[in-house]
Amino acid sequence: MNIFVCVKQVPDTETKVKPNGDGSFIETDAIKWIMNPYDEFAVEQALLVKAANSESTVTVIRVGGVKDTEALRTAMAMGADDSILVEAQDNLDSYSIAKALKGAIEKSGKDADLILCGKQAIDDDCLQVPQVLAQMMSLPSVAVIVGFEQDGEKITVKREIEGGAIEVYEVNSPVVLATNKGINTPRYASLPGIMKAKRKPLQQLSLADVGVSDDDRRVKYSDFQLPPEKPAGKKFEAMDEADAPKVVAEVVGLLRNEAKVI
């Protein structure tokens, strides 16, 4: 099987995120870039499928800026066979990224049997690329998968929807799948793996090489801001049992309408 995994490099979750001077994006100087956590599950799933299917290869693709520690090398250290970097700015929109991924896959000369992505990138949280890519490539897709089983060409996956319910899909490869946390336990890149990854191929392409230009942008961002400060805590008196029901109703209302946590 020819397996492709799409990964993104994103700011570490613990990074302090600040709008840049003109609000066009965030400040990227002091950022620690990591492999998007949901993509780790995709890489691991690809490696598991490779192990279960003889003569399979795993190619990892990333669209984004050149980085000091490259997520593609981490994926190859985990066991991926080769990788492609499409060099681009880090704030492309989902449409452009998907188009670039499609271009890179087609340029590889290999017919994709399985394309794996993480369900979302934790920088823009758009949850679009896997589906857009599938539509562009005229392939079926199932996203937010927490279970995977394969029987030859037939693939059965479990998709998680709201309320924790599971939709079980059956689909034949080729298909695009977007992984959620819990589908597997991503392996560590072993240190020998890291040393071996140095010798595995990392092909670098430009956006033009994969047929993407500025005209492909569909979503434009501006005016990046920090969210409004949390208001000071509100305290309600309810020692008198008569007051209690009203206070409780008010607090629950605030939780729904102000804090928006329920």
């Binding site: 949280d125 562009m136 199932v142 996203a143 059956e170 005016d223 990046f224 309810a238 020692m239």
Partner: protein, 319 residues
């Protein structure tokens, strides 16, 4: 005036509230609503009340169950016959899944999970969170139309004033096309208790719980709101709760969206375990308890009165 279509999902035959939230913000635009399948007359009336000019019931084979390809093809079928400027949907599981495919079938883009928007004339301007909500940004769409937008449920809020629309209902026949990835079965949620460290909502009890049996009040509450029950070290040391339930310096560190501390004073060791919770609610009889300095909403009251009331109130609001 922009011609806007809202794809609306149903929950047990009723229009999901996010549709009404969106309609509330489309005053001045020509708002259409589309559902897949049938829609009861009083639901059409509700849509009209909130501003829908037209309500389209889309019917076709193989659409009784959700499928990304089927819904994409069916909506593409319908939208292609009209000349909509914008297509909106709630950022629900299904919305987040097939709207990107649908948009791509028009070579168009999606502004996803918007938490606010307005129209300047007939142009959409949205706001959405990025970096797990650490940043907000303005978002606009460009390129081929229609432009697509998904909206986070509950973010806009229901409109305070409603402008009614004609609510003219009609049926349209649509084609689901070839469906390659189909649902074989649906497994209902097992309602498994999530581990504290993974839980989205946590209810914790402290020394004021007085005994182990009283934790059943918290269990009941947790059942209703889908929470996991935790405890302070004082409660665990006194034998009221299992050590595995302990939240704090020597217990578990948790980061839920909502943390409700019942009868917990808020000593520094406990705070260490839960201070990154998004929203903190505290219930304590002592108005000077340290937990109130960290709580977003504090209730000075007896947990044995307050918690059952909370359970009832949540039951009402979540049904």
């Amino acid at each position: 005036m922009a011609k806007v279509l809202i794809y609306s999902e149903l929950n047990k035959g009723a229009i999901k509230p996010v549709t009404l939230e969106i309609l509330g913000k489309l005053t001045g635009q020509e708002a259409h609503v589309a559902v897949i399948g049938d829609l009861a007359d009083e639901q059409v009336k509700v849509l009209a009340e909130y501003g829908a000019a037209k309500v389209h019931k889309l019917k076709g084979d193989n659409l009784d169950k959700y499928s990304p390809e089927g819904y994409t093809h069916a909506l593409n079928d319908f939208i292609s016959k009209g000349d909509f400027d914008y297509v909106f949907a709630g950022a629900t599981s299904a919305g987040k899944d097939f709207i990107p495919r649908l948009a791509t079938s028009f070579d168009a883009g999606v502004a996803s999970d918007c938490t606010n928007f307005l129209f300047e004339g007939d142009t959409f301007h949205g706001t959405r969170p990025l970096f797990a909500g650490k940043c907000l940004a303005k978002v606009e769409l460009q390129g081929p139309k229609p432009h697509f937008v998904t909206v986070r449920p509950n973010a806009l809020g229901m409109p305070e004033e409603k402008t009614a629309g004609a609510g003219e209902a009609s049926e349209d026949s649509v084609n689901a096309g070839e469906i390659r990835a189909a649902i074989k079965e649906i497994i209902a949620s097992a309602n498994e208790k999530l581990d504290l460290t993974e839980a989205n909502i946590i209810v914790s009890g402290g020394r004021a719980m007085k005994n182990k049996e009283n934790f059943s009040i918290l269990n009941e509450f947790a059942e209703v709101i889908g929470a996991t029950v935790g405890a302070s070290r004082a409660a665990v040391d006194s034998g009221y709760a299992e050590p595995s339930m302990q939240v704090g310096q020597t217990g578990k560190t948790v980061a839920p969206s909502l943390y409700i501390a019942c009868g917990i004073s808020g000593a520094i060791q406990h705070l260490a375990g839960m201070r990154t919770s998004k929203v903190i609610v505290a219930v304590n009889t002592d108005p000077d308890a340290p937990i109130f300095t960290k709580a977003d909403y504090g209730i000075v009251g007896d947990l044995f009165t307050i918690v059952p009331l909370l359970t009832e109130e949540f039951k009402k609001i979540l049904d």
